[in-house]
């Protein structure tokens, strides 16, 4: 299902670029850094009109670095997209856990439910950025593969057990 993963992610990413509050802030920030030697702030403001008033929550649903991103409905940890990786890749120098917990999240973009695999990235100390805890369909520790309270770096080859961050990878459309 990697093709589906890539396809939906591509869609989400482009949507995020169009609508995300974070992307607008990032763009403004880049402009400001680039312009710091000259007083261009008013120009930058003028060149980038404020985005139309829409629901912030709706924007964050499309933003992989937001806790409200639709795939994050059962995540518990630091978002890899804020730590040098993305929602489906690990940051440099870490290892992706082979086993993990799965959740089922609703994607408001296409109205479908998806099975999401929350693979942890392992081998470095905790990232510490973009902490997110949501618990839709989360189960207690005695049902491990639907529980977000485990450190899924457990038993993970050379990176057993330091936890760095969590991804949210699409496995399939939920039936």
């Amino acid at each position: 299902m990697r093709w589906l993963d890539r396809m939906v992610e591509g869609s989400a990413r482009s949507m995020a670029k169009r609508t995300s509050r974070r992307s607008v802030v990032g763009y403004l920030g880049a402009l400001l850094v680039g312009a710091s030697a000259v007083p261009l702030l008013p120009v930058a403001r003028g060149a980038t009109p404020p985005p139309p008033k829409t629901d912030d929550k709706a924007k964050q649903v499309d933003d992989p670095t937001s806790c409200d991103y639709w795939r994050h409905c059962a995540i518990d940890g630091y978002l890899c997209g804020c730590c040098g990786g993305t929602q489906d890749t690990c940051p440099p120098g870490t290892q992706m856990s082979a086993v993990t917990w799965v959740g089922t999240c609703h994607n408001p973009l296409d109205g479908k439910d998806y099975v999401i695999s929350y693979n942890d990235c392992c081998g470095k100390s905790t990232c510490g950025r973009c902490m997110c805890n949501r618990n839709e369909r989360d189960t207690p520790l005695y049902i491990p593969f639907q529980s977000n309270d485990y450190n899924w770096c457990s038993g993970n080859g050379k990176a057993n057990v330091p936890y760095h961050c969590s991804t949210a990878r699409i496995v399939s459309v939920a039936k």
Partner: protein, 366 residues
């Protein structure tokens, strides 16, 4: 220079030579251990000790990577701490140990090496427990195979490992017995022999909990021979000698309609002398079972009725009640570092202690 020399001489005369505080032993009942797995820096877990009567921060221990929780010995003289270390910080060989600390000096006594597979998870009391007589320390393993490590506290040696495939955590029921909960809602009842090996290890034929409709959380509390589990919706399931008793609800129909439900990390506490159950409550929908609450509701376990509501100063995610006749209630939340202290009988707020750790998890009474 003359002035400096005078000040220095005065200070030297006023204060004793280098000295270190010694703590009362056993640790007084109104003191509490706050365990912290320091989520932003998991390699440096710790546990902190606070005197509930004064709010004084009494000391701390370093407890390694993904710190779980301290387990006090029955005589209150030793703390057992399941810990994980790597030979190079976050790299190199992983070593798991039970570290033993002296409660009078908070100093390291010795360590017992155990299989490097203890579970790394959001800390729960059921991750590590003593048998009722204090002889064996039991530690839950997950890698992701499941088992229980047994440590003999008399010989201070690793005693063995017991398979618990499909079943998790530890709920002691006697000097040589405990149960674990299985993924289908069955119980795995284990009986130990006097060397810590499994004499029997039997799953119940049928699930005793419905894990699909309204699962119980793993954050149960115990009074005597009964473990009290609470479901996501607020049903209390007493488990007595391996048998589930009829469930009863923490909530009236009106309270349920108003979406009150229990939640939190260490969401329940008990006070055995008065047979009272304390539950963190909040208003929220399904899957808010880990949310903190601004109220603690108190129940008489004999009558199964609520006797009190306590308004909390701050969000409460973990609560603990001291074991003595005039108990204190402690409250903290993983996203805060303020420990709140209450009179557990009147519910009166007494004091707060600030800057207690980074991501405090479970509270342990000595």
């Amino acid at each position: 220079m003359l002035l400096l020399a005078f000040l220095s001489a005065t200070a030297a005369a006023a204060e004793p030579a280098a000295s270190v505080v010694t703590l009362p032993q056993p640790t007084p009942p109104h003191w509490v251990w706050i365990n912290d797995f320091v989520f932003p820096h998991m390699v440096s877990g710790k546990a902190m000790l606070v005197d509930g009567d004064t709010g004084r921060f009494a000391g701390a221990l370093d407890t390694g990577f993904g710190s779980m929780r301290l387990v006090p010995s029955l005589d209150g003289k030793v703390l057992y701490s399941p810990e994980t270390y790597f030979s190079r910080g976050t790299r190199g060989e992983r070593t798991d140990v039970i570290s033993l600390y002296d409660t009078a000096h908070l100093s390291f006594i010795s360590e017992i090496q155990i299989p490097a597979k203890r579970s790394s998870n959001l800390p729960m009391m059921a991750n590590a427990q003593l048998t009722d007589d204090g002889r064996f320390l039991l530690v839950y393993n997950f890698n992701p195979g499941q088992s229980i490590t047994v440590v003999d506290t008399h010989t201070r040696k690793f005693a063995g490992e017991i398979e618990s495939s499909g079943c998790a955590l530890i709920y002691p029921t006697g000097n040589r017995s405990f149960f674990s909960i299985c993924a289908d809602g069955a119980l795995l009842n284990t009986v130990l022999d006097d060397t810590g090996k499994a004499k029997s290890n039997d799953r119940t034929d049928e699930p005793v909990f419905d894990v699909d409709k309204d699962p119980v959380t793993e954050k149960a509390v115990r009074v005597g021979d009964t473990w009290y589990f609470v479901s996501f919706s607020g049903l209390i399931y007493p488990v007595k000698n391996g048998t589930v008793q009829p469930a009863w609800s923490l909530l009236s129909a009106q309270e349920k309609a108003a979406k009150w439900r229990p939640g939190g990390l260490q969401q329940l506490a008990v006070h055995t002398p008065t047979n009272r159950l304390y539950s963190i409550m909040h208003q929220g929908g399904l899957y808010t079972h880990k949310d903190p609450g601004r109220e603690v509701w108190v129940y008489d376990l004999n009558k199964r009725t609520r006797v009190q509501k306590i308004s909390m100063q701050h969000d409460a995610g973990s609560i603990q009640v001291s074991r003595d006749a005039k108990p204190l209630m402690f409250s903290i939340f993983i996203e805060s570092s303020v420990l709140d202290i209450y009179d557990a009988i009147s519910g009166k707020f007494l004091r707060s202690v600030t800057d207690v750790g980074t991501t405090p998890t479970v509270l342990v009474s000595p």
